[in-house]
């Protein structure tokens, strides 16, 4: 197992612009290094620029995009280890089946 001592890098994806910018500002105040994905892009493109420790993705909309992202993430982590972790943020309650389905893909879901 590798030791890991650096400022955590967080990538925000699939958020609307206003929420994303305010969340990014909040997380930067919390001393995280924050990157933002300006538009929905494949995972390989999202992870190209930096080593990302945590991916925070808005799962309230573009469900197919989120599912594709999680599928790609599974393949990415199988090759390169457990980084990044994934946190899903939803502003709409989608029921336990939806939550369980995403959690089984390794995503930690939070409603805001």
């Amino acid at each position: 197992m590798e030791a890991d001592w650096h400022m955590a890098a967080i990538l925000l994806a699939n958020f609307d612009e206003e929420f994303r910018d305010r969340l990014a500002a909040f997380l930067r105040v919390e001393r995280h290094s924050v990157h933002v994905a300006l538009e929905p892009a494949p995972l390989s493109q999202l992870l190209r620029r930096a080593t990302v420790d945590l991916l925070i993705v808005d799962v309230s909309h573009r469900e197919n995009y989120v599912r594709d992202l999680l599928a790609d993430l599974g393949a990415h982590r199988a090759k390169r280890g457990p980084r990044p972790s994934v946190l899903g943020v939803s502003r709409v309650y989608r029921g336990p089946r939806f939550a369980l389905d995403l959690e089984r893909k390794g995503l930690r879901l939070i409603y805001v």
């Binding site: 197992m1 590798e2 599974g74 280890g81 457990p82 995503l107």
Partner: protein, 173 residues
């Protein structure tokens, strides 16, 4: 809105801590010892009942046979030292815990584990770990958790890189 951000921030910190733990000390394996006598700890007579992966507060049972449970339990208790197949077979043979495995129930459930079988058992253990990792949505390479270490010669040593929690279950439970 700031409450929402704070919730996300807290969850982000938890997820990052979990990732750091995973990278530094490996996944958490929970070993259940049954037929435990209150006031004792890991004494001969107990049975290795089940072994689970713990991830995000959930448990994922490893599909293990008796021999594999005994071997993984042994590797868990001796995880600070990499050992060769010969050392593992000798350690299990001389271990009172393995010799009296499950004896507190009145039925001893022993398995002889030969040195020549260790390599195959290690493969099966990695397969079982992979099943649990996949179920947990955890993309870890089992070979980085149950590690083969090279030596100066042609001997290979095995070491479990994992955090272990032992849970004792008494006969009354």
């Amino acid at each position: 809105m700031s409450d929402s951000f704070r919730s996300i921030g807290y969850q982000a910190e938890t997820a990052l801590l979990e990732l750091a733990d995973l990278l530094q000390t490996g996944p958490v394996l929970r070993v259940y010892h049954r037929f435990w006598k209150p006031g004792t700890e890991c004494l001969p007579g107990e049975e290795v009942w089940a072994i689970s992966l713990v991830h995000q507060g959930r448990e994922f049972r490893l599909p293990l046979t008796l021999a594999l449970r005994l071997l993984l339990n042994y590797l868990a208790t001796t995880r600070h030292v990499p050992q060769s197949a010969t050392q593992i077979a000798a350690g299990i043979r001389r271990s009172p815990f393995c010799a009296k495995h499950g004896m507190n129930s009145g039925i001893c459930s022993r398995r002889k584990i030969a040195r020549s079988a260790i390599k195959e058992y290690i493969k099966r253990l990695r397969t079982a770990l992979l099943v649990a990792f996949r179920e947990a949505g955890l993309s870890l390479d089992p070979a980085r958790v149950l590690v083969s270490r090279a030596t100066a010669g042609n001997e290979v040593q095995y070491q479990l890189v994992s955090r272990i929690e032992v849970v004792h279950v008494s006969e009354a439970d």
